[in-house]
Structure formats: C-alpha cells, structure tokens
Subunit: 170 residues, 2 copies
Amino acid sequence: MNAGRKTSFAGKSRGGAGVPVRGDRRAAGVRLGVLEGWIGFHLRMAQGASFRAFAGCSGRRQLKPGRFAALLLIKHNPGITQSALGRAMARDKSSVTPLLQDLQRLGYVTREQSQSDRRNVHLTLTPAGRQALGVLLAHAKRHERRLEEIVGRRKTLLIGLLREIADMGM
Amino acid sequence: MNAGRKTSFAGKSRGGAGVPVRGDRRAAGVRLGVLEGWIGFHLRMAQGASFRAFAGCSGRRQLKPGRFAALLLIKHNPGITQSALGRAMARDKSSVTPLLQDLQRLGYVTREQSQSDRRNVHLTLTPAGRQALGVLLAHAKRHERRLEEIVGRRKTLLIGLLREIADMGM
DNA sequence: TATTGTTATACTCTATAACTATA
DNA sequence: TATAGTTATAGAGTATAACAATA
C-alpha cells in the first residue's frame, strides 16, 4: 500500500534551496514533537553525551564513570561499607560486589571485615588506588572543565536541579 | 594489618545524639568530595533516578524510554529513515535495527523501502502503534509532571542547559 | 568510494532471587 | 526477623566489525 511513496520527511527539501543546514549532524531537521519539552528525554541525551565524552577523554581502556565514582567515594569516606557505597551511588548491593571485586583485583582497594559487626566490609584505597585515581582525576577534570565551559555561571543552579531530580525516588 | 580498626566512617556518630537524620536513605552522611561539584556525576544520578521513576510509572513491563522515544520521533517524523532516527537519538544504526525489529514485531511500525534510494527504509506508525503510544503518553506525562513539579519555572533553563550538553560531542 | 541497513558478537551495567553469615 | 555481602542468572542497551545492496 502507498506504493508511490514520496516520504513526507526524507526529501531534499530541508534547508530550502539546498543550503547546508548548521546543526545538521545530529538532528538533521528531525522534529522532536512533545519530546522537545520533556526533561526526561533531554536528561537522557545529555547524560549519554557526557558519558561518551568522558570515555573519549580517558583514552579508551580507562575506568568507567561508575568505577571512578566508587574510587572517589572510597577516598572521601575511608572505611565505608559496601552497602553504604551502594546507597550513595543508588545501586543495589549485588551491583556493587562485582565492581569492588574488580577494583580489588586491580589492587586499588582493600576490603576488611569489620570487628564490631562481622557482616560489614570496610573499604579503603591502597596507595596504588590513590595513584591511579590521581591519573584519572586529570582526565576527569578535563572532561568536567568542558562541561563547565558549557554551563558557565549556571553550574550551581544546574547541579541543584539535578540533585533534586536525583532525590525524586526517595 | 590495622587490626583494631575503628573505621573513620561507619561509627554511630552521624546525627549527633542518635537523632534520625533526614535524607538518610541514600547518602547516609557520605561525603561526596570533589564529586559534589561535578556536573557529570549529578547528571548520571539524576538520569538514573528519572529512569527508575519512569519505569515505575509505566507499570513494569511497559516500553522502555528508548522505544518510547523512537515511537514518538517516528510519529512526529513520518517516513524518517533508520539512520536519521539513529542520529536523532544519538545511537549507532546497529543499535537502531533491533529496536525497530522489536517495534515492528509488536505491530507498531511499518518499514518501507524507499523508491528513490533503495538503501533507505522509511518508518511510519501503524494505527496500533498510535494507540499504544497514546497509552504510553499517559504514563509518560505523569512522569514528566513529577519532574516539572521539581524544577518548576526553571524548566526552560534546565532543558536549555541539557541540550547544550547533549551537543557537546558534535 | 560512501552510505544504508543487517548480522554476529561481545561487553557493560544492572537488578532479582536465593543463599550464607551474622546480628 | 533483619541486614551485609555473594553468587547465579538474566535482561537491556550499546558498540564494533564485517557484510550486502545500493548510490
């Protein structure tokens, strides 16, 4: 059906008289419709772009943002338990376990059973972990600087909003 | 080593004299350190929360945000090609293919080979797709309303910032 | 040569459920 | 009973590379 399709979309009509359109690379004149005004959608897109840019910054085979955040949280909260770490990152404990096994295998963290409550495992950075984190921080700061260039003085406001959204499920 | 560990973190000291602390559920007094001021981190957390809330809204076994966005984009751009859809969603074409096979299997979209350029496949919603989208929109609007309640009049500003970030890799 | 779309494949992230041990 | 952590497992989402058809 609709054999002689002319496509309401994909014709050569975009950009008027064949003029290349700036901003062509992604949207290519695609209409977003209701998505245009949807926070959830733009959140997804922005996070994806930030993630890809971070991966690019840290030169391929580096640690992913998740590992990186975990290292940083352990650094700032030495002795934190796995569960507390999971809560801080909003991840289930079963997601935290393999992550830490990884970091331990790399020699970046130590895990010690608590004496007062032997169910707990306390996490601390090793010297190697500290050093690796230092290198990673250089990459991450570069990435963060790019983001800051984009948002400028609206950074505080943006972070405030993002934190409020992050707390929505609580 | 460090046998008699007292843990600089996990003590009972938080909240002063045993007073329950508001906001305890996630951070539980965890220090974020540099992460505190990092846009990338808060972006990740906010997106995660939004994603989980969306999943909750759409009653478990519903369509995920990705499928939903694809349906919406097809609706607003009838005849769009797979590649263009991929660009609009910032996804590789090889990620788009299975997504559309899924939507076609559900009977929500049709795929027609273009006549003018037989490499292209044009996408359109079926009546069933339209109807399903209507139902989904109800859920999604509920979710979006929650987000709007959080950000209030700062919505336009937030979306503007997110779009700029989403364009960072371009 | 370049582009559209498909396939095969592999990797990451995540959660659920069932389990152990501890409390 | 409730919590901390592990394991097994499954599912979603994504990308890379090689490929066929087409331009």
